[in-house]
Symmetry: C2
Subunit: 463 residues, 2 copies
């Protein structure tokens, strides 16, 4: 028997596409976490901002919660609909609306994928430089909702830096046109930045005007094998001072193990505890000299055990696959994901504490470390043992997260660097934000979403 | 007779420095606008964040309004205390608290001047790249309160881009430590960005952690004389495509006239309607070739009537004085300041409309144009005729502002690019922000400042 609210919504917004088939409810009701059982009321697929407004107004009037939904590649449950919410998918709103050569901006509907955005920028001889492995599925709206980071933050910053304007349908049903692509605009509170990173709890992002960058320089990729965690920061300092770094990523032997198990080719004859992948501007004699000098500096000091520098684009792509393949290779093990950050300067001390903590608390688990050292961002994936019950595993990891949160607090860090808080890290928000800050956030949510219908229960529980 | 509240405040915060002398009330009660008669209750000069909290809590309990106060170089009345407010000056809080070489950040108390911040960065071999003429007097707290822009925005962005963390004492008296210097932090709403540009209406910024940049490259300065406004955008496009621009400023013959009247040396034998000052990376043959090619391209097309390129640092500084001296040279004429922005792509159409409007509406006034074309930011200064009454002049300019606001609205622009709304542009906020946005801003103010004591009446009137 169909829920009568579905008929009511269809009547209120006649042109709205609605899905209620069982497999659609599963598909649209979960994200990449796979931790919460999807149970949405229905899936609404509006065709334009006006329909989004109509859906939100209907939901407000009927007290129905809405989960805004992009590519659902999130890793913290921010797009999960587990409690009868209406999923509002932006899937049908994925058009490029305009390009401006003078402003160097691209205006898109929020449902467009990151990859399609990058392509559209490329067609204009420019680049949208935010990038990460989920590019083919994740949406710009989702990127904005989590202030997505990724593998180029070191050079280009987070999504926030590239949003010149955005349109938001608030929980009240109003359409806000925020900042409108202006470079300079000192006319009251910048609500655009408030929306970026708010995980759908203030409204639905329906459109964005994105800044574009010059196309990236010609680059090469270097893969280095390291004997210890300590050498990591030294190699980073050395490479950062000599090269124009586009990316600086690290991963452990366990991470490489899983990628190789998935069929990738081993980069070195021997196994090493740690690996660094660095991408840097190349071309020209001066740069070549700098690269070799940096490499030699690191090897003579014993910071690097082995290394390879890409000689072609294909080889560079092959090396990148070793890093970008990690998340996918771990997926079958339903990993619990820690996504933490500290100031770069706090990394060595935090790493020492965190390593000791995790070695003590996860002795029986396969723990895979990787991340973006230059941004102070570590991803620590804990794999679920095949024989272990999912709930017991989640409970155990939750206990460790509480301990890790305390360590983060000691080092001034954050419980979520780039995945967002969503459902997964909600219990630990207080390690990163003070009670006063959380109360202010809840107060602000009430201003933009007085009925509390926008992604309720994500980030924090509104009192 | 002393107001009894002053004794009460002194008793509540015994170590607090308080000033109540008549000349102090005038000095601290006004900013560079000189439009509103200063009438503060007293001047409080706390020595640390704890004292700021104590003052705010006392003010909340006694219903006394607070005007946060930095260098008071503002041009929109944001720091004016004209209604018996308590001025909370950060003048005694101007220390550098720390430098981190790995994070490349400088932590300062908010009362420090921009110039002292730039010097402290320079001592570490790095640069704080936000810059404008008031650098010697304005404070970092004030820069944050208005998201200050200036002459390097084209290359480095606004103040917002350089704030890695800030501490705010809210209107409630709580001390928030926002973002704490993290590069990546996706843990709920980014209140730091909400505070930046909020003009002291949410609380008092007491400390900031600022990102530093590489020292600027070796540069040269070019001054070009232009026959028309139309040539301006063409010269900008040409120079931007060929040179690494650090700044691109323009001013009119009237602006130059006032600077020359102040004693500066005329750059060209003849008088031209428009001038462009461009600063660009120099050094090396390739760059020299590019500069000459760009210059030739512009002259052959008739976009440039005359030009000079600096051959030394002294000469570059001399050329800069022609641009930076404008505001000071106009000050004796008590100018009414329009500070507007549009998208760069909308500049030509907006300029045409604005020129026609102002020629029609200000036929009898001396109108001086200058600004940052590359940011879409125009400064239009209207000088008060010597014989005209200040109130009548302000009323007339207010009428024109309303017309200009409508033109801005048509072109998607902003009534304040970088000065802020303060008191001066409050009546025109609705041309830039929708009623829904203004209602949301007022709602957010109530969350952070429930008693409504923080800089009340600035930006908007809280209902």
């Amino acid at each position: 028997m169909t829920d009568p609210r579905i008929g009511s919504l269809q009547q209120a917004v006649p042109a709205l596409v609605l899905k209620t088939a069982a497999d659609d409810l599963v598909h649209y009701g979960r994200d990449w976490t796979r931790r919460w059982a999807p149970a949405p009321l229905a899936i609404a697929l509006p065709g334009d901002a006006g329909e989004v407004q109509a859906v939100v107004r209907w939901a407000r009037a009927h007290g129905v919660a809405i989960v805004p939904s992009g590519g659902r590649t999130g890793l913290s449950g921010g797009a999960v609909a587990a409690h009868g919410e209406l999923v509002l998918s932006l899937e049908r709103m994925r058009r490029v609306l305009g390009f401006d050569a003078v402003d160097r901006t691209l205006t898109v509907q929020a449902g467009i994928t990151l990859e399609a955005t990058q392509s559209a920028a490329g067609e204009q001889g420019l680049a949208y430089p935010v990038d990460f492995a989920a590019r083919g599925s994740c949406s710009i709206g989702g990127n904005i909702a989590t202030n997505a980071g990724g593998i180029r933050v070191l050079r280009y910053g987070n999504t926030r830096e590239w949003v010149a304007g955005l349109k938001l349908v608030t929980g009240h049903g109003d359409l806000l046109d925020l900042n409108r692509g202006l470079v300079k605009n000192s006319s009251g509170y910048d609500l655009r930045h408030l929306v970026i990173g708010s995980e759908g709890t203030l409204g639905v992002v329906v459109e964005a005007t994105l800044r574009l960058a010059d196309p990236p320089p010609e680059t090469s990729v270097m893969l280095l094998a390291l004997p210890s965690f300590e050498s990591l920061m030294q190699v980073f300092a050395e490479l950062r001072s000599r090269l124009e770094l586009e990316a600086f990523e690290f991963f452990t032997a366990r991470a490489l193990h899983h990628v190789l198990a998935g069929g990738a080719q081993a980069p070195f004859a021997e196994r090493h505890p740690f690996y660094v992948l660095a991408e840097f501007a190349s071309g020209g004699d001066a740069r070549e000299v700098a690269v070799l000098a940096a490499f030699e500096h690191c090897t003579t000091r014993g910071w690097v055990g082995d290394g390879v520098i890409s000689q072609s684009r294909d080889q560079a792509a092959q090396l990148w696959r070793l890093r970008e393949g990690i998340t996918e290779s771990l997926a079958p093990h339903a990993p619990y994901k820690h996504d933490v950050s500290v100031r770069v300067s706090a990394m060595p001390a935090f790493l020492a504490d965190a390593q000791a903590l995790l070695a003590r608390e996860y002795p029986e688990f396969d723990v895979v470390w990787f991340g973006h050292v230059g941004d102070g961002n570590l991803h620590i994936n804990v794999l679920r043992p095949a024989q272990m019950d999912a709930d017991a595993f989640a409970a155990r990891c939750g206990q460790v997260t509480a301990l890790l949160a305390a360590t983060l607090q000691k080092h001034g860090g954050s419980i979520s660097a780039e995945h967002g808080i969503g459902l997964a890290k909600k219990d630990y928000l207080a390690s990163t934000r003070s009670p006063e800050e959380i109360a202010i956030m809840a107060g602000i949510k009430r201003v933009l979403d007085p009925a509390g219908i926008m992604n309720p229960g994500k980030i924090f529980d509104a009192p």
